[in-house]
Amino acid sequence: MAFDKMELRDVEVWDGNHAAAQALRQAQVDVVAAYPITPSTPIVEGYAQFKADNYVEGEFVMVESEHAAMSGCIGAAAAGGRVATATSSQGLALMVETLYQASGMRLPIILNIVNRALAAPLNVNGDHSDMYLCRDSGWIQFDAFSPQGAYDLNFIAFKVSEDHGIRLPSIINQDGFMTSHTAQGVTTITDDDAYNFVGKFKPMNDMLDFEHPVTHGVQTEEDWHFEHKARQHSDLMLKVSPKIDEVFANFEKLTGRKYSQVECYDMEDADLCVFCLGTSVETAREVATEMRAKGLKAGVVGLRVIRPFPFAQIIEALKDVKAVAILDRASPGGAPGAMYNEIAGALYNTEYSPLLSGYIYGLGGRDLTKANLVDLYNELQTNVDAGKVTTQLQQFIGVRGPKLSFL
């Protein structure tokens, strides 16, 4: 069965959802099992449309829940196909049980998560609560800051995940609405170049290999379970990071677009650093440039690879900085922010001790304004001048009512 190729302009005006859907088409995904949820719906809807219009050769499986969606993906991946899906928020919450199955079974599924707040109260807008919900699920996790990232990282994720030395599933995060529904110029790759980059899917231990029957999803108790988890963690810690660097380098050769696990902006001589994820990275970069004009040595670090956590690269990026604001876009539920804890953990046993302050912001789609970030850089400079963190360690930005801070 032949399928049609699509002529793309060099630069298309796409939102993050359409960019991800186009990437799934160009990678010629074999199976998408999906249950639609705002704001990720157009990704799987897009794949279904491409399939209906004969632009992709594959199967779209309509299921009754997100739990079933990932379960269908697991079955298809174990059978030996290239598999992807998308979800958000409550859907991801229902899917979480199966995420651990997918990574433990070492199935290279690609999941686009369009980040959205978790109820209650019910909210369809972007924050990173769902991103953090599957933080420890054993998946490789990328973060797009824009539609271009959502497009490019899909190809990169397939290439990393499907490598027979890796065989771990990947999540590509993008911000709900701010990325997923905001159209921007996306520099495209031709159908042939994109498919050649990802390559033909190479099955491994697939159930459709009838000469070598396998049982997937076995049970282990105290005698074997620990060894399986140790192997998975070891591969995440040791093998994935070099593979990602290799794929980033090959992607740069193809497209000229350079990705890094830790994206540094004006960090060479920076005293002040804002550390954040998602669309906030681009806003922070703009403000950092403006703060430079005012004489503050401002920089931005954005996290491109959330898992495996790029421990060494984080230390390298922050070693000469005097103060770091770590922004967490999720309610931390009775603790310092997740990223605050991780950065503090990375730096603690080093000789470097920049002043770390944590900020909770943007919950349920609340804007992080440029004015917020100007205040933030000024506060970091105040900390540097005082030689200590002058505020409490955890502050809330942009919430109405009396100032909220802890620790």
């Binding site: 433990g104 079974m105 070492r106 199935l107 065989r167 231990n205 000469e211 070598h212 029957p213 396998v214 049982t215 997937h216 999803g217 076995v218 282990t220 005698d223 620990f226 060894e227 399986h228 140790a230 192997r231 998975q232 070891s234 591969d235």
Partner: protein, 131 residues
Amino acid sequence: MAKKGWDEFEIGAMLRSFDGSIDDIAGTRQEDRTYSENNSYKASVADWRLIKPVFNKDYCIDCQFCWIYCPDVSIIARDKKMIGIDMDHCKGCGICVEVCPTNPKSLLMFPEQAEDEAEIASWPKKDEEEA
């Protein structure tokens, strides 16, 4: 099975059924198949059985009902003759006894510790009323 370290087995929650590749597995008898050490065929998975079926061939008519109904493929039949029970895989569910049509039954359930020969020697007689 030797207890391997975390770096000594294939990745994934995945087990191979056979060593090497297979061909015509349906036409190959279980004892002739190249089952891997991981296959449950090589393991006893019957240690929680409390009652067991005992087979009395004197009454068996080789109807194959037990072979068809056994949910654990534990009835051993060759050339359509019932020859015994795979006690490493039988869970003692009693379905074989339930479906056995002979009078008296050719399969009956006994406590796990019962002696097969003694039970066969004192096998129930034909039930005349039922006949």
